[in-house]
């Protein structure tokens, strides 16, 4: 694999695979953060900490 191809995989995540980068992706896959799963947590946190709601944040604004 040429250096350019290797760089392109690192840059775009596509194209001919760089084996070292691919191995790291696999090893680190369990640490991926699921934002969809945690999205509700944000609302709960804000409520529990009593963060101030701005005026347009009221239900009528939704």
């Amino acid at each position: 694999m040429t250096r350019e191809r290797c760089n392109e995989y690192l840059w775009q995540g596509t194209g001919p695979e760089d084996e070292f980068v691919r191995e790291l992706e696999n090893v680190l896959a369990p640490f991926w953060y699921d934002t969809a799963e945690d999205a509700l947590e944000l609302d709960r946190l804000r409520t529990s900490l009593g963060a101030p709601l701005r005026p347009a944040d009221s239900p009528s604004a939704e």
Partner: protein, 170 residues
Amino acid sequence: VALVARAKAGDRRAFADLYARYAGMVYGIALAELHGPDAQDVVQETFLKAICSVHTLNDPAAFGGWLATIARNTARNVCRARRESGQAGDDPSTSGGQHARIEARAALDAIRSLPAAYRETLMMRLVQGMTGPEIANRTGLTAASVRVNLHRGIKMLRERLETDRAEKRV
């Protein structure tokens, strides 16, 4: 920019969209400093702070960089608190097989030992699967800077992991 403007006006849905778009970047920054559970807490805390102060942001186009700064400061505060309390923390997913545990831990430790710009960019790319253009778009860094961070970071990481492996063989 439009999303940020709507969030500034108090639109909760716009903020949820910003969360979906930027949480990966914030997590990458946090994971570059802290172990998994702490990094997840930093994501939540960062967005909470952002919700409370987004109205102070003058330039909506600067949102990514502004949020990244909040994330770094929050992560550093948690890091400092951890050090002062003597709690090291741990990465939960490392409780799998022995072989995988060693590799994942070695990889994370090696990334965390890199200069900040490299380790943050590599966490976004290798853990969150963000592409170079996505990282540039979210962080506000130029594409050229992200390319440099990725390429130099992966080079240093390769050298460090290979050195570790060689030392273990001896």
